[in-house]
Amino acid sequence: MNTAAFALIAIFTITFALAAATNPRLMHAALSFAVMYIGIAAFFFLLGAEFVGLVQVFVYVGAVAVLIVFTILLTRRDVGERHEFKWGGVAVAIAVFVGLVWAILKTTSIAVAPPVAKALTVKQVGEALMVSYVWPLLCVGVLLTAALIGALILVMEDKPS
């Protein structure tokens, strides 16, 4: 049952990932990208990590995809035109893939049998974030605040003197 579900979700995700990479129309590619994120969220659901799956949908479909779509709309004049497939991107993708495979194969923790995963509740996620990993969380918060202030300064209008 799980294998079948995995195969179905994998086909779904890869189809939309390929569509996002190869679709000549920019906006369709961006929307396929958003659908691909839903496939990835489905993987998390399959693994029993509801919280991560929901956050995946929330952040990537609700925020990042909207951001991408807006970026395309506000910066490009040739949105409606067809774009040719760029082989340079394939090279970059293969380089990243090889790098990831190399890193995964080098880690020692995979060789050990995985511990039996318990159902992760939201409470545990909260405790992990606020107790064990509170410093990384705060650092990310400061970084995001800095980015927000930077963005505000960039778009601030000069007061006419």
């Binding site: 369709h28 949908v57 929330f58 609700g62 925020a63 779509v69 807006f70 509740t121 939201v122």
Partner: protein, 399 residues
């Protein structure tokens, strides 16, 4: 034969088990599970589509009453069959797709928007043991699904290839993103106090009564009342209702992202808007108004789902009442309200709820949390200087 209160309360649950009992033993277990889910989905769809039909005619009747006219009164008794006539009209209308439209995106947008609204309805507890889709992070699910609406609105605006559509979609997304922040932050104090994202647990946390008659609803605490008002206003914006219906302001941009939709696709948008309104009201009932609990302990003999839908109807009436009362506000006023007032107040609710919680839910905590909210409110209203905000608008033009 005397029917117990318990049996009436659980009547739908027993009905479902009775229907499923025909299947058990004859088919594999997973078929029973699928059938159970399908029954849940069918019930949610049936109930809310009926409610949609009912509320669309009631809204016109109530608005008519408020504006000193009759409203629909021709089809059926008191015009009650008006939705049937409307439905038939929408179905037999020609479906026009603009020639230069992005056909696929144009077609998918209404489907996606309706799907998101229906999914959000799935996690709300409608009565004792009556949550269609039980999930540990139910509140998060609600907002995760709701956040995909923005993409659907964009698809509608972009796919139509029309400047009114695109402008309307831009406005809609801008206001939805701005008000999603206060909407979610006002939910946080409830989640924090209950310690769970599960809607059922949030309802259970509100089941006791102070002094034997005052319910434990969160709306009766200072932070809860503030959060409820902020949540309700954000809900008005998220469902594009007056006075925040700027994205479809007909005097400015025709019908916003729905300009190029006709016939049943337009009806789908309309339906999604109402279903979104039901979902937000349902969540407000769950979070702040005690869910399906009775307001007084001696009224507990009335079934839980009756209480839920009674509270839902009150909120829906307020939605309609506001529509009949307030004019549409400007985009800049709306953004000012979101970022300069709603957001700081939402954060104040969070602090105030923490103070209330650590004072052990006693009178002292109640007063302290009230004081915090009052001080921030006064400071904000002095600081924002509303007199200047309502002066004539200064126009800026691109050089």
């Amino acid at each position: 034969m005397r029917v117990s209160v318990e049996a009436v309360d659980q009547v739908f649950l027993h009905l479902k088990q009775w229907l499923l009992s025909f299947l058990v033993g004859h088919v594999p277990d997973w078929v029973v599970q699928v059938a159970s889910s399908l029954l849940n989905i069918g019930t949610v769809l049936g109930v809310f589509l009926t409610l949609f039909a009912l509320i669309s005619v009631l809204e016109r009747k109530i608005l008519g009453r408020m504006q000193n006219r009759y409203g629909p009164n021709r089809v059926g008794p008191c015009g009650l069959f008006q939705p049937v006539a409307d439905g038939i009209k929408m179905l037999i209308k020609e479906d026009i797709v603009p020639d230069r439209a992005d056909k696929v995106v144009h077609f998918l947008a209404p489907i996606l928007i309706a799907a998101a609204a229906i999914l959000a309805l799935g996690v709300i507890p409608y009565g004792r043991n009556m949550t269609p889709f039980v999930i540990d992070g139910g509140i998060l699910f609600f907002f995760a699904v709701g956040s995909t609406t923005e993409l659907a609105v964009f698809m509608a605006g972009w796919g139509s290839n029309n400047k009114f559509s695109l402008l309307g979609a831009m406005r809609a997304i801008a206001q939805m993103i701005s008000y999603e922040l206060p909407l979610i932050i006002t939910v946080l104090p409830v989640v924090m106090v209950v310690g769970s994202l599960n809607p059922d647990k949030i309802v259970f946390a509100q089941k006791y009564y102070y002094f034997g008659f005052l319910p434990h609803w969160f709306v009766l605490t200072p932070w809860g009342a503030t959060a409820f008002i902020l949540f309700f206003v954000s809900g008005l914006v998220e469902s594009n209702r007056t006075p925040f219906d700027v994205p479809e302001g007909e005097s400015e941009i025709v019908a916003g992202h729905m300009t190029e939709y006709s016939g049943f696709k337009y009806a789908t948008f309309f339906m999604a808007e109402y279903l979104g309104m039901f979902a937000v009201s349902g969540l407000a009932v769950t979070l702040f108004l005690g869910g399906w609990h009775a307001p007084l302990p001696w009224l507990r003999f009335i079934p839980s789902f009756v209480w839920f839908f009674a509270k839902l109807s009150v909120l829906l009436f307020v939605f309609i009442w506001i529509r009949g009362t307030l004019p549409r506000i400007r985009v800049d006023q709306m953004m000012n309200l979101a970022w300069k007032f709603m957001l700081p107040m939402a954060f104040t609710c969070l602090v105030s709820a923490a103070v209330w919680y650590y004072n052990g839910r006693r009178v002292a905590g109640w007063l302290w949390s009230f004081a915090i909210i009052a001080v921030v409110y006064v400071i904000l209203s002095l600081f924002l200087d509303t007199r200047r905000k309502f002066a004539p608008r200064t126009y800026r033009f691109a050089e």
